[in-house]
């Protein structure tokens, strides 16, 4: 009978107890009862469904403290509903003062910051800004340029918003504005006019990712200037993004067809990860999440959905079996 050593050229270690999965990835050992190995996996699982089925909403927060607001439903063109996620289920929060869709939302669940969008009447580009404290929204200082499908990064005291579309006015724009906690100021334009891109990071280290319809570009913002980053494998707009300039994740979105792809960025290049189960566009992503933990919720698939998915990356010890 052959042995493991004859096949692989080395023996398997005997370990009385399993080592931590995080340090044993790819190793094989015998613990006196079973052959074991440790693996790393990334996957999307289902989360609690939204209370309000909607698309064109925006989101922020994290997997265990998420926030979504606005959007559009079968009966409400410009939704004002807000929901908070605890990692299991969504609970209704305070309504937006101005219902709108395709806004940008930044910040944690208890310090949300929603900017721009489309609002009534007649699909007006919104310059509205609202602050969320975990229970209610307060009107803030309006943007200089109203816009929807904009990108945004930062917090309620240090924000950058970029691109989008000013309906009936300048149209799709490269315009960028910064918020310092007390005023908006126009700063250096993006490299190109764009809408439907996703933003994440902070004011001084932000990303603009993709855009309508099949834009593959990633742009870096350092608080002053824009520079070119790595290209997406699957160009798309209106996906869900989270993370930082050097560790970002983009999930799903649309480029004419709905995309299930997830990609992870290291500051230089994108690599493919596990697909979402239900591809969708105009969804909400938990922008304060990470490459190891985020949610997407709602969106157009192409009908509006209330489905939530949770992305997790985990190390685990597995018993090797013959099946």
């Amino acid at each position: 009978m052959t042995t493991y050593k004859n096949i692989h050229g080395k023996k398997i270690k005997f370990l009385a107890s399993d080592p931590p999965a995080t340090v044993a990835e790819g190793q094989v050992w015998y613990n006196g009862a079973d052959f074991k190995t440790a693996i790393f996996s990334e996957a999307w699982s289902s989360g609690g469904n939204l209370n309000v089925t909607r698309g064109s909403l925006s989101g922020s927060g994290t997997l265990t403290a998420g926030l979504v607001a606005g959007g559009t439903t079968a009966t409400v063109a410009f939704e004002d509903a807000t929901e908070e996620y605890d990692g299991t289920s969504w609970t209704n929060g305070g309504n937006l003062n101005t219902g709108r869709k395709l806004s940008a939302t930044m910040g944690p669940q208890t310090a949300g910051f929603q900017v721009g969008g489309i609002k009534a009447p007649a699909n007006t580009a919104s310059a509205n800004v609202e602050d969320y404290d975990g229970s209610s929204w307060t009107n803030g200082t309006a943007l200089n340029l109203g816009r929807y499908a904009l990108g945004g990064a930062g917090t309620n005291s240090a924000t950058v918003v970029f691109g989008g579309n000013n309906i009936g006015g300048t149209g799709t724009t490269a315009n960028v504005e910064e918020w310092n906690g007390s005023a908006w100021s126009e700063v250096n334009n993006m490299p190109a006019a764009i809408l439907g891109q996703k933003g994440c990071g902070v004011l001084t280290a932000a990303l603009s990712i993709g855009g309508n319809s099949s834009n593959v570009t990633t742009s870096h913002y350092d608080g002053t200037n824009w520079s070119e980053g790595g290209n997406l494998t699957t160009g798309r707009g209106n996906g869900g993004a989270a993370g930082t300039l050097t560790a970002a994740i983009l999930a799903s979105g649309s480029n004419g067809g709905l995309q299930a792809a997830t990609e992870i960025y290291d500051g230089t290049s994108w690599k493919n990860s596990s697909d979402v189960a239900t591809a969708r566009g105009e969804l909400a992503g938990s922008k304060e999440g990470s490459t190891a933990s985020m949610t997407i919720a709602g969106g157009e698939s192409p009908s509006r959905t209330n489905a939530t998915e949770e992305f997790t990356a985990e190390f685990s010890v597995k018993t090797i079996t013959d099946s």
Partner: protein
């Protein structure tokens, strides 16, 4: 042997499918429509764990053609809604900019 199982099962939310399920079998969800309501329609990897998952979720297995018909019906509704979403004096390009491209028809794998 078939590569996929097709079925319908209502997504009940948390833990309807798990991280481990996604490692065990292929799973892709689509919105279908039965003429009255949206129907969660699934394409599932045709292995033992995939088949068990559909059964445990009280799902109903469909033929590929049946599943495709459900998804196509939902696509038609979404496309009609897109057609009907007009704004006075808006150009075709402006409409695409506002709504995104008109939804296409999804072909199940």
């Amino acid at each position: 042997m078939a590569i996929f199982i097709y079925g319908t099962a209502t997504n009940t939310g948390k833990n309807f499918f798990t991280h481990q399920d996604r490692r065990n079998f292929f799973l892709r969800g689509y919105t279908g429509h039965d003429g009255s309501n949206n129907i969660d329609t699934w394409v599932i990897g045709a292995n033992e764990k995939g088949a068990l998952w559909l059964a445990e979720k009280s799902g109903t297995e469909q033929t590929k053609a049946e599943a495709q018909a459900l998804v196509k019906a939902a696509d038609v509704i979404a496309r009609t809604a897109w057609d009907d979403n007009d704004v006075d004096d808006e150009s075709a390009d402006e409409k695409v900019a506002r709504l995104g491209a008109k939804p296409g028809f999804i072909t199940l794998p």
